[in-house]
């Protein structure tokens, strides 16, 4: 990585955003063939695809959620909020919702704590004398930690399913090898107490690398002078990290929280591969999995759409919650950067 890249990262992470409005539009333009055909193709074509395949299904889903449609018959009845009433009284869906919420609380939090810690060590955790820098071999750790990001989620889940295999898995092999005989044939994914934590671990394993890289880029945008000034004032590394670095990359942490929340509320790939049937006593069943099952194996499309609407509402609530917490804990004080 060259110095130019670093300065790009600096500009990217904290630089003032350009707020320059395009001045072209203010110029009067003739409706020539060139201009009209240009707008039709450049705006019309992508927009048509987007509206047909993304926005239109979203709107339809909200409508279907109020019907008793089973998909393969032409007629159906509008039943208002009946599906949602049914959902509240559906113990399996409520179980799935509880699991989803647990994942959405634990996974983003743990991932961000790990990723932030590693990013700080790698960028500013080095010697407390001389230049502010990361610890030795930091690029090795950076490259290795990022590996999981380039592995498809389904493959991550498959690898870990084999790792956790009761008899042939590496984990129990190592544990019994170390003398913990109670782990011989211990079914990590087959026990109610461990199935969900293990699933969360696998999701975190796959997510840490990317967010670590994101935070590294952001921390590189913190001016070295600020950190040096803190050091002259007697702040140690831990103090600098907590009081200087983290407040300055607040916005990046907020973005990371929202992305991770959206991913954790989905989690479909992981649960589907680790425990296709929903786990022991539905302990790893999540909303998306139950939705998929309701729609594509039971054919209850109206009911499944209602689940989709609930999932979307929870996703939006999660994002709103992150914004509110960030605001309430002082994010509003930095008017210039908010």
């Amino acid at each position: 990585m060259t110095a130019t890249d670093a300065s790009d990262a600096v500009a990217a992470a904290v630089g003032p955003r350009r707020r320059r409005l395009p001045s072209r539009g203010s110029r009067r333009r003739r409706l020539s063939f060139d201009y009209v055909s240009f707008m039709l193709v450049f705006l019309g074509l992508p927009l048509a695809i987007f509206l047909i395949f993304v926005i239109w299904p979203f709107i339809q889903a909200v409508f279907y959620s109020m019907t008793d449609w089973t998909g393969f018959t032409a007629e159906f009845n509008v039943i208002g909020l009946g599906n949602f009433e049914k959902l509240i009284n559906d113990p399996i869906f409520m179980r799935a919702m509880g699991n989803s919420i647990k994942i959405a609380i634990v996974v983003p939090l743990v991932t961000i704590v790990i990723a932030l810690t590693f990013a700080t060590l790698i960028t500013v955790g080095g010697s407390s004398r001389g230049q502010i820098r990361g610890i030795r071999n930091s690029s090795f750790y950076r490259v290795v930690s990022f590996f999981p990001y380039v592995i498809p989620a389904i493959v991550i889940a498959l690898i870990w399913r084999q790792m956790f295999d009761p008899s042939a898995g590496l984990l129990n092999g190592i544990l019994t090898g170390l003398g913990f005989d109670q782990f011989e044939s211990y079914a990590w994914l087959g026990k109610v107490s461990t199935a969900l934590p293990v699933t969360m671990f696998v999701i975190i394993w796959g997510a840490v690398g990317f967010y670590m890289l994101l935070f590294i880029a952001a921390i590189k945008g913190v001016p070295a002078e600020t950190l040096e000034a803190a050091r002259i004032d007697g702040a140690g590394r831990f103090r600098s990290a907590v009081s200087i670095v983290i407040p300055l990359i607040r916005d990046n942490v907020q973005t990371a929280f929202i992305y991770l929340g959206i991913m954790a509320l989905d989690a479909f790939v992981f649960v589907q591969a680790l425990n296709p049937s929903g786990g022991p006593d539905n302990s790893t069943l999540v909303m998306s999995q139950q939705l998929f099952r309701t729609a594509f194996t039971q054919g209850q499309f109206g009911y499944a759409s209602a689940m989709g609407v609930v999932l979307a509402i929870i996703t939006l609530l999660f994002a709103a919650l992150v914004f509110i917490i960030n605001w309430a804990t002082g994010g509003r004080d930095e008017g210039g950067r908010a």
């Binding site: 992508p46 230049q131 042939a168 007697g234």
Partner: protein, 299 residues
Amino acid sequence: MTTVTSTGTPAPPVAAPGRNGETAGGDRAVATVSHTVLILWSIIVILPLLWTLLSSFKTSSEIFASPFALPAEWSFDNYVSAWSEAGIGGMFLNTVIVVGFALVLVMLLGGMCAYVLARFAFPGRRAIYYLMLAGLTFPVFLAIVPLFFVLRNIGMLNTLPGLILTYVAFALPFTVFFLYSFFRGLPEEISEAAAVDGAGEWRTFFQVMLPMARPGMASVAIFNFLGLWNQFLLPVALNTDQDNYVLSQGMAGFASSAGYAVDFGSLFAAVVITVVPVLIVYVIFQRQLQGSVSQGTMK
């Protein structure tokens, strides 16, 4: 690489005098703890991958005999059977076709859309922007049921072109958002100059603006490639014809079939076949990727 964090002035070597001896000792302790933690994490990351590679050379009975033992003979039988019998070869080809077409299309359409949104004023511009934001935030699961019927009604369910179009549609918001800020940053004078020289809107875009946007396009293309290569829900729900399966579906097949029916040797081999090409590309291009992540944070 490790020392670029402070590109500016060198640090004044005037840390609190009298604390120096103590700091050196503290440094060593902090460094030891940091390295221990990071090495432990590196092991947690690398060990499963190495174990998968090792297991891919074992026979199924060897896999069940012991998780540690080396294979009796290093043969590529598992790879052969994964590639042909489990059908990974065909799925690999399908994935390359779908991801290739979708990537080119989404970069072209996304670039065009972002360019218009960023540099032209017209009624409804903000509305389109917010629609894109909605496409980025709402879960794909909300759309999946109606999408199934949209595709069925236009006769594209279970076809590769249908899958390509949905990939493009769902990758579009991210692409537009990223390139939007990129096109905004390009200097106004250049397109003015092109217009003065008589270039129409089409020519200005393809011969002037697009080449200038190349660094931004490259970053988005990397992320879109990884995102599309890893796509799971869309193919599983919308592409149920066995002949059209993409790699992630083949992998899911291993996950859902009952334990005793799985050929574990070819499972491991299939995993290696899926991971290794991307991992090699990553190790070669990891510096560029690091750069793109830093640009990605500017949204």
